[in-house]
């Protein structure tokens, strides 16, 4: 593998409104330092892609953003969300996760009906009015482009859906909570091309109302759907810029090698 200077980086500052900012974020798995000094600003109502080779830390970084690394890793540094450091131990993590939702690599619907999948967390969050639940159910499924396919089968098991439908259900489940930010960890990597393009279309529509941060190892996908792209290498953020710049005018040699396929 080619050696790059990991301490050199190009991180652009965001002019527009920020949804989330990380300051000197460090992640340690035991003695293993996994993320080094991550300083990123995520613009509101845009799609930001995190790219990089397997094991570069992009999923680890993403999971910090709604505290899913609690109990798995030590995370130092600040994550600023609405002037609040959500990485602080005083923060109610359950509340954080209601504002910052997450969709995982493999579809993981609950072993419940489609309706229950969506409404379960809502009821738990104290929403009990039937009309509101119904309205959220329909709206989130529409937003996730799943409504037309399942509207007659809402009481059937979510496990009977295809992989692509399950993943869109998981997206719907997240957005039914009306989060601010949606984190997606390679949401299309287990899906076929048709399901993938449906998910991508869904994300394009969602970005009107949500800030989206997506980890992907599919470079075409990153260049197709994202507005900003961060390139990670061995736990360091090497380059962060608008997607157009990252893919066409990369500033760092490592980025250029990676996006042009000359990496490793």
């Amino acid at each position: 593998m080619k050696e790059y200077n990991l301490n050199e980086s190009f991180i652009t500052k965001i002019a527009e409104e920020k949804a989330l900012t990380t300051k000197d974020l460090q992640v340690y798995y035991g003695n293993n330092h996994a993320i080094f000094d991550a300083n990123l600003e995520f613009p509101r109502f845009e799609i930001t892609a995190l790219i990089g080779a397997s094991g570069c830390g992009k999923s680890t970084f993403l999971r910090c953003l709604n505290r899913m690394n609690d109990k798995r890793a030590r995370v130092d540094g600040e994550i600023m969300y609405r002037n609040l450091d959500i990485n602080s131990p005083k923060i109610n993590v359950y509340e954080v996760r209601k504002h910052i939702g997450m969709v995982f690599q493999r579809p993981n619907p609950f072993a419940k009906s489609i309706r229950e999948n969506i409404t379960f967390a809502l009821k738990n969050a104290g929403i009990t009015k039937k009309e509101i639940l119904e309205q959220r159910l329909e709206q989130s499924l529409k937003d996730a482009a799943l409504w037309d396919e399942v509207k007659d089968d809402l009481d059937k098991s979510a496990l009977a859906l295809s992989g692509g439908q399950q993943q869109r259900l998981c997206i719907a489940r997240s957005i039914a909570m009306h989060p601010d930010i949606l984190l997606l960890d390679e949401p299309a990597s287990a899906l076929d091309p048709i399901s993938t393009s449906k998910i991508e279309e869904t994300l394009e529509t969602l970005k009107k109302n949500y800030t989206i941060i997506i980890v992907t190892h599919n470079l075409q996908q990153a260049s197709r759907i994202s507005d900003y792209t961060a390139f990670l290498h061995l736990g360091h953020i090497i380059e962060y810029n608008t997607t157009a710049n990252v893919f066409t005018k990369p500033k760092m040699q490592a980025t250029e090698d990676y996006v042009s396929g000359n990496f490793g």
């Binding site: 899913m68 359950y94 996760r97 997450m102 379960f120």
Partner: protein, 295 residues
């Protein structure tokens, strides 16, 4: 020899072994049912046992077995559930957890007669509970708990971590995720394990001889006051169960039809356990369908 011949040979050996297992099981089951079923009658199931004359039934023993089973499950299920949830969902991987697991394993291989004698010394004598259903139920809890805990832990563990992450990512607490997402998904497995352990409890004799006792006093099935000594629900009365009855009839009974009683009782025992097993599968499947909404 080539691969194909090897394969044929291996298949043949495996089939022979399977047939041997099936033959042994069918022979035992067949012998018990063949000898016992013809003597089972409504009269046999609903009349009291006789000490000296022929024609006694197993009404009280059958009831005692079922009652003891219910009490044992009432005592052991909450403990097993708590321990299972702790081991699967909360425990960290360290020496303490390993110690608990090892203890549970050792306890599960404890001979039931040892459990019985321990129960005799501690509950019957020391705690002054006497030969009673309660002593028996606690002893059977000791006997049942290791496997039940293990079963619950394994059932919970078999639920993929992705389910837990899904719950957590929606802002559910650890406890909510465990009880509302993981536990329902594991319920069919837990239920199957519970009913299978009910079969073991139902057939247990050695642990009960010294704890629940060997006598079946006449009880009044219309007396619902559990504190009354004649009530069928009184947990402080001694209670001979079906399995203990079989043992006793075969060792020290003086009734002329002891052989008949023992055969028929054995058949009843086997049939009830068979019903438990089939019921476990059926219930497990139904429950899974209901929870997951699969038709």
């Amino acid at each position: 020899m080539n691969a194909k011949k090897y394969d044929h040979l291996a298949t043949g050996v495996i089939y022979t072994l399977v047939v041997a297992v099936i033959l042994i099981l069918v022979a035992i089951l067949g012998y018990i049912l063949f000898n016992g079923v013809p003597d089972i009658s409504w009269h046999f199931l609903t009349s009291a046992a006789q000490s000296f004359s022929a024609g006694g039934g197993i009404r009280d023993q059958l009831f005692n077995s079922l009652y003891l089973l219910v009490l044992t499950i009432i005592v052991s299920l909450p403990i097993g559930l708590g321990a299972g949830i702790y081991l699967s969902e909360y425990a960290k991987d360290n020496w303490f957890t390993d110690l608990i697991r090892t203890s549970v394993e050792v306890l599960s291989s404890l001979p039931s007669v040892v459990v019985g004698l321990f129960g005799y010394l501690l509950f019957v004598i020391k705690l002054n509970l006497g030969f009673s259903i309660l002593s028996g139920a606690i002893a059977l809890t000791f006997f049942n708990l290791p496997l039940l805990t293990r079963n619950i832990e394994e059932s919970l563990r078999s639920v993929p971590d992705l389910q837990r992450e899904a719950g957590m990512s929606l802002g559910l607490s650890n406890w909510k995720t465990t009880t509302k997402i993981v536990l329902p998904a594991a319920l069919p497995g837990i239920l199957t394990g519970l009913i299978l352990s009910a079969g073991r409890i139902f057939g247990e004799a050695a642990a009960l001889i010294y704890t629940a006792g060997q006598s079946a006093p006449t009880v009044d099935y219309t007396n619902w006051n559990i504190f009354s000594s004649t009530s069928f629900l009184n947990p402080m009365r001694p209670a001979e169960t079906l399995a203990v009855h079989i043992w006793k009839v075969n060792t020290e009974s003086v009734t002329p039809d002891a052989h008949l009683i023992s055969s028929a009782s054995s058949a009843v025992l086997i049939i009830v356990i068979l019903i438990f097993n089939l019921g476990a599968r059926f219930l497990g499947n139904q429950l899974y369908k209901k929870i997951t909404a699969t038709k």
